[in-house]
Symmetry: C2
Subunit: 355 residues, 2 copies
């Protein structure tokens, strides 16, 4: 832990040149005689000298660090975004720092202060907190942050604040799911995980409702703002066992794959066969979704692509002052969790003994 005290001046002295020359050699500046460069490199290698990028950053006014703010990297959706951001940053020699913000936490002045003090080269924000309708101060805080560095969000438009955005077209994505189900013959479909809290969910709901209306489908919303497997299990169990067979949906669309995991389990636990008794569509296309029982038909919103595009945009920010959002179109991945509904009137699954 001592070598780091070696400075460019020591190297310069040892090589019999000035620090400016060493600097030029190190940054591959052309105007250096080959012989001089060689000698400097020898000394650098001999002592294992490593320039201090903090000092360089101070002078050049950039840190070569990008910030990423999200609620939970453990969630595969965010992990995908973060991972992609890291790879993009790596390509241009930058590092990414992670900052956490609870799902419903507000972007606080404190967090913003930290980002600014660290003089990050840019910040990427993703997560429900951006969409929270009760985050009154959000626009002001983001506006402040934006005075100091470029910002890109993976989010719907934020009223009162403009910046570069990347966002999946959930609205039309969910419509694809409904159309798929309709083409299979479903007439009663439930959307599980509806909530008024986040706009990303709002877009899904709205797409769902519109498609149902257009296609003459009885679409029902099941509200549940917590999108965990546990919540999904409870929610679907209640829904199915609480109503007569004729009133039960023959298909469900779940707000995300994580919650769908619980829906699948709840359905199996109540004796329903998937997809025969009830078809299930998820949203996210997580790595595990091809291995559920049965493999889950789901909407791929391509988190990594979102992260990649957002980071790229952040990095090219200056070329691109105030542009339209980049829209990523989700793709419906058809697996085995959907089939045609059983003929109306026949047994509605194993749920009857419970109702």
């Amino acid at each position: 832990m001592q070598d780091s005290r070696l400075t460019i001046i020591d190297i310069a002295r040892e090589a019999g040149v000035s620090s400016a020359t060493v600097s030029r050699v190190l940054s591959k500046h052309p105007n250096v005689k080959a012989a001089t460069a060689l000698k400097v490199r020898e000394v650098v290698d001999k002592y294992g000298y490593q320039p201090n990028s903090i000092a360089r950053g101070l002078l050049q006014r950039q840190s070569h660090v990008l910030g990423v703010i999200m609620p939970d990297v453990k969630h595969p959706y965010y992990a995908g975004i973060f991972s992609a951001a890291q790879r993009e940053a790596e390509r241009i020699g930058s590092a990414v720092q992670l900052y956490r913000l609870d799902y419903n936490g507000e972007v606080t002045l404190d967090l913003v202060r930290q980002l600014i003090e660290r003089r990050l080269d840019g910040t990427l924000l993703a997560g429900g907190f951006i969409e929270s309708p009760n985050a009154k101060e959000l626009p002001a805080i983001l506006t402040r942050l934006k005075q100091y560095m470029p910002i890109v969000t993976i989010s719907p438009a934020i009223p009162g604040f403009e910046c570069a955005r990347v966002w999946p077209d959930l609205h039309s994505g969910v419509q694809k799911a409904v159309e798929h189900l309709a083409s299979l013959g479903h007439k009663r479909i439930a959307f599980i995980g509806a909530t008024a809290d986040t706009r990303s969910v709002g877009e899904r709901q709205q797409g769902f409702l519109e498609a149902c209306k257009r296609l003459g489908i009885d679409g029902m919303l099941r509200y549940e703002s917590i999108h965990t497997p546990t919540a999904g299990e409870a929610c679907v169990t209640l829904m199915m066992n609480t109503r007569a067979a004729a009133d039960r949906p023959t298909a469900v669309i779940v707000v995300n794959d994580l919650m769908a995991l619980g829906v699948l389990k709840g359905l199996r636990g109540s004796g329903f066969t998937i997809p025969d008794d009830v078809a299930v569509v998820g949203c996210d296309n997580q790595f595990y979704s091809a291995f559920t029982d049965p493999p889950l038909t789901t909407l791929d919103i391509n988190a990594e692509e979102l992260g990649r595009l957002a980071t790229r945009r952040l990095v090219n920010g200056d070329n691109d002052p105030s542009p339209n959002p980049i829209v990523v179109v989700p793709e419906l991945i058809i697996r085995e969790s959907c089939a045609a509904p059983k003929a109306a009137g026949s047994e509605g699954g194993g749920g009857d003994d419970r109702a």
Copy 2:
């Protein structure tokens, strides 16, 4: 993007004091008259001045940044570690940067150079690359890195390199799994995902083999160095359909939960009932493991705890010069994927029509 040019000198001038005084106020140094401090704060607030932590870092020789090097944050195990590292770092006002290294990539001089140039306050390493037996240069490279900053690894001991470590006791953990299966009456157990490449797997294998020997169990190793669901599905399908019912294991232990996902699917696909035809134990206790079909009995190696302890150790590094590894004891989470084997000689599941 202009305000950041405001420096401590501007504030000092505006407040009619020297920059030293502003500095003292900002860092809550006691020797400042209350009135002076107040005036300074007023000016700071008025202009929204934000100190430059890069400049401060240059002087104080620390960046308040920790580096985390791992193969893939998208993998829930690594995501857990990284997330925990972030939280721990946050507590002490530090940020975490992610650096990626492929599973079998070597820790290169280039990566190490970057860490040193950025003058990180410490580095946390986790992942198979640390364990690769063919990484001949690893000790030398890590030794170099360690000259510049504290290092903690989440790994088995690295021959030729000493540093603080945190590691789960996989050896005894897997024994618990075997014991559980033995107590259920299993006599033929397979370990899926064996490999000579990584020592973390080696420890599992060894624990498995020892427990089998001790308990008089016919333990078989299925080699497969790629631990994906797809590989698990292929591996188990081959194993089960390739041998007569009497030779098939009645239980399998899978090297991790991710691969177990595929094993479960392969087994179902071949017509085996879980747990009656074959019991399955995973390893990791991922968030999805409670929601597989059936819910997976698994060894919880507690990635977040590993990450938390490792980070804490990194931060307290100086108090703790060259200590023993911290060992985390995994816990067997019993769910529904294991049961007693069916009476010997009875139908071995749906696999027969294939053998």
